[in-house]
């Protein structure tokens, strides 16, 4: 009993100290960034274990300042993948600025718009809202109250179901950024024919990996690109 208590005490203290150190490093890195010492700031951010959305986002800013635009995009997107609304919305205009600066454009799809919408609440909130609306639909159906209300509720259920599906996909899929202009091959190897060109900084959904090649998908199709051409977001 005593040893268990001591272990728990040690574990708690260790966690607290560790967290404190990381927070200090985070603040030091911020200070280095403010002093335009971006390389130092990057080193400090990188030394933080279990990086959160703010760390990824700030690292993106550092890379942008160092004119490493591909990594800036990768880190901002990585920050967004943490689904922290404040950070997500801070990264959004930065990616826009980056797009203006580099000429990289990827027109947002309906799914992208839904993703933005889904960031307004945590997954738990959306799940609970869906459950409430879903149960309400059955209650309304059971008691046959107002048809208009039933129709509205049905629409809400459908919308929330799509939103949850998008969010679930977003959380479980792997994304990557093409870090250099790359050809999209129809198979995992250069002996396969190239079917399209993927421009630098294009975002793709990364699938399975076979012998140094990633199966990637994007709005207009899918294919294979060498692993070194893709910087993984998550």
């Amino acid at each position: 009993m005593k040893s268990t208590f001591l272990f728990l005490l040690f574990f708690t203290l260790h966690s607290l100290v560790h967290a404190q150190n990381n927070q200090e490093v985070f603040l030091q890195a911020n200070q280095a960034y403010e002093q335009n010492d971006f390389k130092q700031a990057l080193q400090l951010y990188d030394s933080i274990t279990y990086k959160g959305a703010a760390v990824w986002y700030n690292m993106g800013n550092c890379y942008y300042a160092l004119e490493n635009f591909v990594d800036a995009l990768v880190y901002w997107r990585r920050a967004q993948q943490q689904f922290e609304p404040k950070v997500y919305h801070a990264a959004e205009p930065n990616i826009g600025i980056l797009a203006d600066k580099t000429g990289y454009t990827q027109s947002p799809s309906l799914i992208d718009r839904l993703k933005k919408l889904s960031v307004h609440g945590s997954l738990l909130i959306w799940q609970l809202v869906f459950l409430i609306i879903w149960v309400l639909l059955f209650i309304l159906f059971k008691f046959k109250r107002r048809l208009l209300l039933l129709a509205a509720n049905s629409c809400a259920v459908v919308l929330l179901a799509i939103l949850l599906t998008v969010k679930y996909n977003d959380m479980t899929r792997h994304y990557g950024i093409i870090n250099d202009d790359a050809s999209l091959f129809i198979g995992p190897g250069e002996h396969f024919s190239a079917q399209a060109k993927l421009p630098k900084m294009h975002e793709v959904v990364v699938g399975k990996k076979v012998a140094g090649w990633y199966n990637v998908a994007y709005a207009d199709g899918s294919g294979w690109v060498p692993v070194d051409k893709v910087s993984l977001i998550n």
Binding site: E34, K51, A53, N61, K86, A90, P93, L123, K142
Partner: protein
């Protein structure tokens, strides 16, 4: 015992002098060409070489009388030479001291001496003349030149290292000057030029630097060596081919420059903080945002333009109004695009602690003007800064006077500012596990489906109850008979047949009468059977409603009859 100790002492007493008789100490002075000399140049290093021959054991470094008159630059380089001639082994240990003379004159050096046992072995005494460096037109020259020999602390001194090549010489390199006591800029060069020396035009190669003395007093910059190659004067003919093959017939030599003595004076007294020494033209203040949020960092710059040791000037302390605080950020030196002058930019981070409009007052910069030899002050411009409360960012406006200022929400590069508040630590997304979520979602569906199914089942049952009753009428009747028989309850037999006809023909029990049953039997039964049925049914009526108590045998007969009639009716109906 005492006798033996005394004998050993006597033995040592006689042996040590015999041993030290073979030890010799010699001393000589060598110039930069490794030639023995009695004349050396002022502040030019030379070598004092002390050789101890036939020394067998390990002894201490030889001591030299009079060496303190000179500056010891290198405290000794030791080499040992062992020779065996006709089986006789001899050893020579050579100590070399690099020394320079800081004063002109004639000096006595020596003797060098070592102590072996209780005997001190001494060398000869040398006489050394220290004078100006002798320069001949053929030999290369190295010179250390300064534009000032008397300065004030922090005053700029231009120093040049100049090498005049001799005939058939090629420069290999120069040694790093020892600039202790100065803040020095890196050596620049080489530059080339010509100069008249003893009415002879000579080319030179020059390196330049700028020095800023850091403390008062007399500081000597020691001579600097230049290493060069020159053709050998004497060649051994036998090895001429090999020499040419290996070194091209060149030998490496070095030449030393003069030393520089610089007198550094203190600054005149001043009641206050002196920020710099030099000739400065302007001090300007600027900020990157004229409107900011409470707590937001704003870069405040002070740009100092002029001539002086800009690198070593520290950021002056700022005077800021209450409600603002500042931190020193960074400082750097660059060249003004407008005037082409060197300038130093000091950056500070200003933060508004409370909202309001603040005027950052003119900053003062005190320096010692080297031209006029007086203290002067530079004054910057005032800057107005508006600090908005947090949450009022939308009201921020950009002042037109500062064309470079941008919306305070964004950084200079247009990016959103970095995140200071976190989350800096990865957070697991809060969610209901997807499997649990799917189960929860399916619950209302299951409930609804269950309700619908139940209703459908009930409807189906209701719809098919008559048919079911019809098809099951006899089986139900047989079960009821069995039950009545078991209970020996004759009264139930009547009800049993009523129910049978009711189910079979889809009527309620109340509507089944004798006539109804006869009508039902009309189709398949003969009149005899009908009569028999009439008798049987009357018997059942009596058994139910009559007061007659039937004996057991009679009861059994009736139950048997009922069974037979059920079978017959099954065939008939």
């Amino acid at each position: 015992m005492d006798k033996r100790t005394g004998s050993l002492f006597l033995l040592f007493y006689f042996l040590i002098p015999l041993y030290s008789v073979g030890v010799q100490v010699s001393m000589r002075v060598l110039n930069s060409d490794d030639q023995v000399t009695e004349r050396v140049a002022l502040n030019v290093p030379f070598v004092v070489e002390v050789a101890v021959s036939d020394e067998q054991g390990s002894i201490q470094t030889p001591q030299m009388t009079g060496i303190k008159q000179f500056i010891l630059e290198d405290k000794g380089h030791v080499s040992t030479i062992n020779t065996i001639i006709n089986g006789h082994r001899s050893t020579k240990k050579i100590y070399r001291f690099s020394v320079r003379a800081a004063r002109k004159g004639i000096f006595s050096l020596g003797p060098a001496h070592i102590l072996i046992g209780n005997q001190r072995i001494r060398s000869d005494v040398l006489t050394l003349t220290v004078g100006e460096q002798q320069v001949t037109s053929d030999e290369p020259i190295m010179q250390l030149i300064a534009n000032k020999e008397r300065v004030i602390v922090g005053e700029k001194i231009n120093v040049a290292l100049r090498f005049y090549p001799g005939k058939s010489t090629s420069l290999d390199g120069i040694s790093e000057p020892n600039l202790t006591g100065f803040s020095a800029e890196p050596l620049k060069g080489p530059f080339t030029g010509t100069e008249n020396i003893n009415s002879e035009s000579r080319k030179y190669i020059e390196w330049r630097t700028t020095l800023y003395p850091q403390k008062s007093g007399s500081v000597t910059i020691p001579s600097v060596a230049a290493v060069y190659k020159i053709a050998r004067k004497q060649r051994s003919r036998g090895f001429d081919v090999f020499e040419r093959f290996f070194d091209g017939g060149l030998q490496q030599k070095q030449v030393f420059s003069n030393a520089l003595n610089i007198t550094i004076d203190e600054l005149p007294p001043y009641n206050g903080t002196v920020d710099a020494i030099g000739n400065f033209d302007s001090l300007r203040a600027s900020i990157d945002h004229s409107v900011a949020k409470e707590g937001e960092g704003i870069v405040y710059r002070l740009t100092l333009e002029g001539e002086g040791n800009l690198q070593s000037i520290e950021a002056p302390e700022l005077t800021v109004p209450e409600g603002l605080k500042y931190y020193e950020s960074k400082s750097y030196v660059n060249e003004s695009r407008v005037s082409g002058n060197q300038r130093k930019i000091f950056e500070y981070i200003l933060q508004g602690i409370k909202p309001g409009t603040f005027v950052i007052p003119a900053q003062l910069f005190t320096y010692f003007d080297l031209d006029k030899r007086i203290y002067k002050q530079l004054c910057s411009n005032e800057i107005e800064l508006t600090v908005n409360p947090i949450g009022n960012a939308a009201k921020q406006t950009v002042t037109q006077s500062n064309a470079e200022s941008v919306v305070a929400q964004k950084e200079n590069n247009g990016l959103m500012p970095i995140n200071h508040t976190g989350p800096w630590r990865e957070q697991q997304p809060r969610q209901i596990p997807w499997t649990v979520f799917m189960v929860l979602c399916s619950m209302p569906v299951l409930v609804a489906l269950g309700t619908v199914g139940r209703n459908l089942l009930l409807m189906h049952r209701e719809k098919n109850s008559d048919k079911r009753k019809e098809s099951q009428a006899f089986s139900v009747a047989f079960v009821a008979l069995k039950k009545a028989r078991k209970e020996q309850h004759l009264g139930k037999l009547h009800e049993l047949f009523i129910t049978l006809f009711a189910h079979k023909f889809g009527q309620s029990n109340e509507l089944v009468t004798d006539d109804f049953i006869i009508t039902c039997l009309q189709k398949g039964a003969t009149p005899a059977i009908k009569t028999e049925w009439q008798l049987f049914f009357n018997e059942l009526l009596q058994s139910k409603f009559g007061y007659q108590e039937y004996p057991a045998k009679k009861k059994e007969q009736l139950f048997e009859l009922a069974d037979q009639w059920l079978n017959r009716l099954q065939e008939l109906l």
